[in-house]
Symmetry: C2
Subunit: 342 residues, 2 copies
DNA sequence: GTGGCTCTCTAAACCGGTTTAAACACTCAA
DNA sequence: TTGAGTGTTTAAACCGGTTTAGAGAGCCAC
């Protein structure tokens, strides 16, 4: 029952033309009589022929695929709201073009470099998305030397030959701080992400400088790791300070939700005793109790934009411009409240 | 600086042999003198040559890639703890073999069939994982007619020519019910997943029959959609019953956590007034307040097993047996408590 | 010396497309 | 009648591997 797939030669025979003619017709190249084109396409249709991407890949030296290497512990990845939505956005661009997305998950301990190397040297992808940028990110040089086109998610600090698609976290962060200030908070702390990540430090920096603008200093900044467990630890340390904060801004929702649980466990009421804000607007943020004030980005649109930009680069039609997406914005829910309300 | 990649011909010249010899040496085929093999491998090494997977694909008619089509709304996918971990497990098998994972995310409304068709007809993958099995799942027939090897995640109800890798949800579900019964609960309700999914009904059925075994009937069964919003709606309906449940078992953690928030919002205390249990043991389950009693499967191991099985099938060495993984098991936390404790 | 055997190795076909150079058919102008 | 020009089509090379049939070389036995 596994009918052999027809090849271009079958179509050629059926239409009474040469292989080359079929190829021309399929790709809309000029030089064929319209009648011939019609006849060829009809024959292809009748045979249900679709060109083998394997053969095409070989002859045009393109993979018709883009790659995404996710360097993250699979366990932690589970509850990361970013990638699934991002991938959805990427797919929405790739699918209509007949491209595929090649995914690679490497645990932090493993050889991340090897992941990119494999993708490049096997010629499996035409370009990759560079996410979770780090300071002095070695991957920029790696990809340059591999000759693999890439798009960076946000702008790296090192000199980069690659276009960047950017979603500025800072306005959202600043909005959180202002919101908390307006509510009367003065002792505001921050649970940051790992400081080797550019986006983590961006949020931290924006937080600190927004406070500075109001003449305040952070009530505490705890560096954590974006995980729920880490969020709890950081929360405990902050609450144990001689002058504990009245509000905490977390660098992601997961830490915020976990931190909120930890605070509640110690008997604190949120938001009466402690205001809490997160970052991501993950699905649960709206539905935990109380609903989490957070910052919403649009990872789906991020994925779309990144895929489009990477394709522009891969297609090689002129220089590719950086792209700035609408910034993340504040979503106010019940987890933050007026300091006087208690 | 983009040094042209060396080809097998370059290696052949350098080693002073024919292309065929290089191929033999690389693939460990017999018939070459050991000295020659060494010389060839050395030459390949010096040139940094790795065979192009494009060319290999074409000549051996294999893609060296497996496919996963995820039919789910990207927004909902965000907080699904299953796939990322599953993919991590798959990768752990694929990476050492030099295989790639091709991912496709299609929104429920879109043409899911087209997703599989593309993967098959483009010859992009050698086989696919069939997840989220549905009743009378049309994809079994589709893949059969496409001639695309597959492995099903759990056993489909329709006759299937594909091996199944199974992780039984029922023991975990039964354990939840028994746990709640032991705590003294008699009015136990269930928030189910969409009943067109096999795994959703499996949990529901196990729930109902476990209760029946104790001579009880469900205090209510609300079918929902695995989302946080759906979990809240279902919870409200259950709590509005004339005889509301004292315990609710949710078909996944996301609905459970959201439902817990909803219950708390109405003034109910968890677990004092209402016990809550989930399913998945997602990262947040441990850290919400109170910690969520739930059922833990091992999606990473699931991914490993599925990838191994699919590769066996693709490699075509004899019949492939179904595989049964250790069942999910109960994790008891603070969200469930003795009925008398209040 | 010849046939047969084993051990190495190579030339060439092949996978299924794309692309280039050239051939062919036809018209039109000189 | 010839030549140039235009439009259409094809044959063949090519992408970079794998695989098959067979060529040589060396050795042994008869």
């Amino acid at each position: 029952m596994s009918k052999e797939r027809p090849t271009i030669a079958d179509v050629a025979v059926r239409a009474g033309v040469s292989k080359g003619a079929v190829s021309f017709a399929l790709n809309g190249k000029p030089g064929l009589a319209q009648a011939t084109v019609d006849r060829i396409l009809a024959a292809a249709d009748e045979l249900g022929w679709r060109p083998s991407s394997r053969a095409r890949s070989l002859s045009v030296s393109k993979a018709f695929a883009l790659g995404l290497v996710i360097t993250r512990d699979p366990g932690v990845l589970s509850s990361d709201p970013f990638f699934p939505a991002f991938i959805g956005g990427v797919e929405s661009v790739l699918a209509p073009r007949g491209q595929a997305l090649v995914l690679q998950v490497v645990a932090p301990g493993e050889d991340e470099e090897a992941g990119y190397r494999r993708l490049a040297q096997d010629g499996r992808v035409d370009g990759v998305f560079l996410s979770d940028l780090r300071h002095e990110d070695p991957r920029i040089d790696l990809l340059t030397s591999l000759g693999l086109p890439a798009v960076t998610l946000n702008r790296p600090e090192v000199d980069s030959p690659f276009p960047a698609v950017c979603l500025d976290d800072r306005p959202g962060t600043v909005a959180v701080v202002q919101h908390l200030l307006e509510l009367g908070h003065r002792r505001i702390a921050h649970v940051a992400g790992p400081q080797d990540f550019v986006h983590a430090t961006a949020r931290t920096d924006a937080f600190v400088s927004a406070l500075a603008e109001a003449g305040l200093r952070p009530a505490g900044v705890e560096t954590s790791d974006f995980t729920a467990a880490g969020g709890i630890e950081a929360t405990k340390r902050l609450l144990a300070l001689p002058e504990p904060p009245t509000a905490i801004f977390y660098a992601n929702d997961r830490m915020a939700i976990a931190g909120m649980g930890a605070a509640q466990q110690t008997g604190l009421r949120v938001p009466d005793d402690l205001s809490i804000a997160g970052f991501d607007d993950s699905e649960l943020a709206e539905f935990v109790h109380p609903g989490l004030t957070t910052v919403r980005a649009d990872p789906y649109a991020f994925g779309e934009a990144a895929a489009r930009t990477l394709n522009q680069l891969v297609d090689g039609e002129g220089p590719v411009a950086d792209l700035e997406l609408p910034p993340a914005r504040l979503i106010i829910r019940r987890s933050t409240a007026n300091l006087e309300d208690r």
